[in-house]
Symmetry: C3
Subunit: 344 residues, 3 copies
């Protein structure tokens, strides 16, 4: 059974990463070369020439394809070989695997599974990232951990108090169990905390002087996109906190793409609306996220190492694991479903 859900869109790279220089990236255990053709459209091929297995990413992008840097064979974005130096006939089997790609809202997405099932409408909406109404920032982290450990982390607010003392910690979090609601593509979590001390990051971003009402609506889309729509507003604000004037709002997305079973590409964006904006805030938000996510990375990589060294040791559940367990079950079912489709 594949360790990865194949029939899904994954982020291959940020749009800014892609040019007419080849970009080599391992995605779901497969070596892929990404590049833009003359039209600017993204293309993705198996990063392995079918002749002698040289990586195509060591070659050069031409207007109509990519040329292997070893013996000069050229491949179209379809994967078909269209030139062999010193030879006029080209066998139809001379081709490499091509992959579906789609560029949207600052990302190049890739589909590595059964392409009959691919629909770009299933790509998670991240339009806030390129919407001028929002100020956005982004980052990338290379993780030496299986993506599911990062999923666990993102769905769990109980760790914020312990791991992120200077950024995301909020003493009210461990006791604020979210409402959890599954939907066909994942789960949604809703939390509301009234009259609490804001986390250091919200305090800074909202320039709050006192206590706040905090809420968030999270969504987890199978297999690996996490959205956190959150905000804080002064505690004296009446009525439901959701989208009140004067609130600090964010639409955070963490987008995980497994590199291998034990490593993960972690992309994130964080569009914000600041109640009292100034030029420095978005940079400070990025710095805060970078700090917090580095804290997570160190903990999760240590956790991965412990699991790797003792794969049989049982994990004991606690109350805060509810969302995590639902997602793990959903991932497991989807993997079984894909395995059965391949071997009916």
């Amino acid at each position: 059974m594949s360790p990865f859900i194949k029939n899904a869109w994954y982020v291959a790279c940020f749009s800014q990463e892609l040019s007419n220089q080849p970009l080599a990236r391992t995605l779901l255990g497969q070596r892929v070369v990404l590049f833009r053709t003359a039209s600017g459209a993204p293309a993705a091929l198996e990063d392995r020439c079918c002749h002698r297995m040289a990586p195509l990413s060591r070659g050069e992008v031409e207007p109509d394809g990519i040329r292997c840097g070893y013996h000069g064979m050229k491949f179209a974005p379809t994967g078909q070989c269209i030139e062999i130096p010193g030879q006029t006939q080209i066998d139809a089997r001379m081709c490499v695997q091509d992959y579906l790609v789609h560029e949207q809202h600052g990302f190049v997405w890739i589909w590595l599974g059964d392409r009959a099932q691919a629909s770009v409408s299933a790509i998670v909406d991240c339009h806030w990232h390129t919407d001028s109404q929002w100020q956005s920032t982004q980052g990338y982290i290379h993780y030496r951990a299986n993506y599911q450990l990062i999923v666990d982390n993102l769905l769990d607010f109980s760790h914020l108090t312990f791991v992120h003392k200077t950024t995301l910690a909020n003493n009210a979090f461990p006791n604020a169990q979210p409402a959890i609601e599954p939907f066909d593509q994942g789960i949604r979590l809703t939390r509301e905390i009234r009259d609490a001390q804001p986390s250091p990051l919200h305090q800074m971003a909202g320039k709050f002087e006192g206590r706040v009402n905090f809420w968030n609506r999270q969504a987890w889309w199978l297999p690996s996109v996490f959205e956190n729509w959150a905000g804080s507003v002064e505690a004296s604000t009446p009525g439901p906190a959701h989208e009140q004037p004067g609130a600090f709002l964010l639409r955070h997305f963490s987008l995980l793409t497994p590199e291998t079973e034990h490593t993960t590409h972690y992309f994130w964006i964080q569009p914000c609306q600041f109640p009292r904006p100034d030029d420095t805030l978005i940079g400070k938000v990025k710095k805060g996220i970078d700090t917090a996510f580095e804290e997570d990375r160190q903990m999760i990589e240590a956790q991965q190492q412990n699991i790797h060294d003792n794969p049989e040791a049982p994990m004991r559940g606690i109350a805060a694991d509810k969302a995590l367990n639902m997602i793990r079950m959903m991932i497991k079912r989807r993997l079984q479903h894909e395995a059965e489709a391949l071997n009916p």
Copy 2:
């Protein structure tokens, strides 16, 4: 069959290493976190939270236990979980493995086997290290070799001439076979060499100008503590050399704790009595030991690599291997005995 003798006391760390900061150490292949509670007593737990396997050593020590740095669960020195943030009920299975520890003469000792068999009276006496009649020095070496290769080395005087030309070499050693006497916990070796050139280290430490009488009484306690009680005195001194006035005396201990099958923690202490003491001698002894043990380390790690790459190549014995073979046989028997006790 376990590669390690489990029912034995091993050095976990020097007393000075342990504080209210967690100390992570792999011992006999197991990840252990060591710390001191409010009383100053040492404690040792499995370094793996039973919830999601985060290393407890990334957490914080509190007066009554250690708190996991991931989700904030707290564990008593008994291994029992005594706090789960956001939860009042704690399942009795919420616990991690605890280990027996005992602090004595500058070391924290640990017992990783069947605790019904543990008795602190079996801990090797190293009291000279903390006895004001002796000046002592100590060191630690991380070895990329199985501990038995280091045992071989310590029991063998024939290598001193070749490996340690500037420190421990003595031309008389290769021809001075020791008297070997087994006892229930290991073996004892006795050597006496009269009227010989002292080794560079003894010459320096004793400020000898001419030839010396040298003797030593070594003991090897299963599985991995080596004592070398040795001394040199001017060759003109009459009678048996043992504990003559004017002798340079040392009670060296090398204490090996397997980290994994291919790596070892090597602790050593060397209490000395100098016939003509000055403030510089103990530092020079440490420097000499550091130099000599680094020479051993390089040779033994190269030997380990050769064995690893060619595990089937036979080893051919020589006369000097007698003690080594006895110890290897004792270790083998003890391992078989422990294996049979587990699977009668």
Copy 3:
């Protein structure tokens, strides 16, 4: 089945590398120690003392052998132990494997197979390297790739245009298929290209101002020596280009010795004759070769990595692969032949 042809001479080292200091080198997966005895003759032994497996290369060379640096046992160049400190009897089984070596034309060659089949007459003639009529240069590269991938590369001229743009590239190469002629020890390839732009390296070395006639006669001796006898002369020169006055001539040898299945020792020499010699040319030739071979190394190591990660992916042949396929078949047959000889 051994991954290597054993009954063959391989280069162990350059003559200059060998002295009365031990040289440790892994050859065909075996650890070998090389040294010169008092007579200056090269010797090669298994780099593993038969006593406790310490590497002999950590010992010291004496006039009549090498002494292990651990316990002082001395071994003659025959592999026989001739001294054990503290012991007068030496068991005849106290010996290490010795290997045939032969020094010729600047190299020490070694034979690791059945010595009944060894004849120094089979060593490839490289005498130009030490012939005063030629100016020669040499180099060594450590490769993280199986030697057959380097063989493929050396026999293939189609890659020169793509990999070596600034040194060996010649636009005429991809279309110039060589004449290929097998012989009992390998294959020979002959190319002639008239009235073409010289490669940057030939242009520099020959100080050519215009177009040239180029020819080469290559030979590949099983399993891993490649000769390239090549030259360029001004295109206006009449008659067959071979050895015309005014030509730039070279007798390049690439000599590959497998270190392991995935790493290779790459030795090369390049004796040259320059039509318009000056003191700087041979250094520039070395620099050009170093540059080109580093380009190859990067590509081939990337190719090795791709093959390693996807050993089942099929390779699709192109017209330029003809010589490569012949050699691969010859190597395969020789390996089968050696395996059958061992297990008739």
